[in-house]
Amino acid sequence: MEHTSRQYEQDLQELKEEILLLGGTVEEMIDSAMRSILSRDPDLARRVIASDPKVDAAELEVDHLCLNLLALRQPAASDLRFIATALKIVTDLERIGDLAVNISERSIELSEEPPLKPYIDIPRMASAAATMVRQALDAFVKRDPQEARVVLAADDAVDKLNVQLFRELLTYMIEEPKNVSRALRITFVAKYLERIADHATNIAQMVIFMCEGRDVRHPGVQAGTGRREGV
């Protein structure tokens, strides 16, 4: 059902579109950053780095829209939860953009040295993390808590791949000290991907809050010791 105020409805729609635009940009950044690693393409990596200011600008714009809505519309219930979610997930999206930039920086460094080994787990991690980001954003758009729960369930697999990759790279480092700098860079990339998956998880948790009004972030911990409690 639509708001009586058409302008309010439009403002909420604009906020949603702005988040989606930002989401689309960071998804593309992850994808390009990973392609730059796999194809040893430093120019592509530089283009990812160059797109970061766009993400920063979008973050400021989302914050601005949220603050205006809070100040001017006094949103309640599902609108309030939507705006609170937007305010929180925009930070996650911006951090995902930063991590894509970090991957690109390592990509440039890696492209300057001969390849250490064929990439196997890194593309798998990248694909899993990118899928999580996309699904989290889809869940946000469709207001679908079930899809958000799929994202939560996927995080473990990425964590495991990260640990597995670290062990493997450790053997390369032990074998040959000359491998250390490259192996470390790849370890960093895996860590960045693991962090991207964590941010996707944060987004999914906020989507569940937005849809159901329940905070699933820290099971067993309860909020609300303010003065309104115990009423």
């Binding site: 059902m1 639509e2 708001h3 009586t4 309640a76 219930a77 609108d79 939860r81 309104r228 009423v231």
Partner: protein, 274 residues
Amino acid sequence: MPELRIRQAVKPSVPRSVPHSAAADPAMIEIERLTLHYGSKPALMGVSMSIPKNKVTAFIGPSGCGKTTLLRCLNRMNDLVDGVRIEGRIRIGGRDIHDGSVDVIDLRKRVGMVFQKSNPFPKSIYDNVAYGPRILGVPRADLDATVERSLGAAALWDEVRDRLHESALKLSGGQQQRLCIARAIAVEPEVLLMDEPCSALDPIATARIEELMEELKARYTIVVVTHNMQQAARASDVTGFLLLGELVEFGDTATIFTTPRDRRTEDYITGRFG
């Protein structure tokens, strides 16, 4: 104001949102299956709720939803309206207010009321506040203290202490409303009913009344009807949402304004109309 387009034949039902915390508070007012008709027209349908003691409870809802009617039931103001038929039970402080032994005048002393439009008597500030206590036989020697205490509690004493014998009609709108609150509490009620007490006031005067409600609830149980949802959100502990005479949802204000359980409450407080 556009009416909510929601099916008319809503079965009277127990409200869905009665959080444990609200239910656990000692009740000052207990309403059970209250139904009220104006002639053949139903205005309230099977309303049940438990209004907690020493809290501010707000009734919200669109025009004509029955919130003022419900408020006026609490001190039997509706008795004055022709053709009213009331079924169900209201207990205040454990006592049924429709019991034959209840003196309505005494009930209205226990359950004071402040109206939408401030209505000071055309008398001095002092006489406005002293009016009730005088009728109740408070000795002359105690009147000064009662007036000072009441005006102090209504956050008006400092502004009027030097002109107690000037006409109350010279006060500003916000001051007049606080004078009416002082007049209501001068007779030491247990419950204070407020029917849109700020609708004619500017934001500063409104903020003062809301602050006053917060202070007064330590001594009184306050029930307020408001059109202003932000006011309910700011100033109340418990909120009831009424629609077409039905209590749709009743519970902790913070819950109602963040995660209401009923779609109709959600639509109303987010400003969506069908």
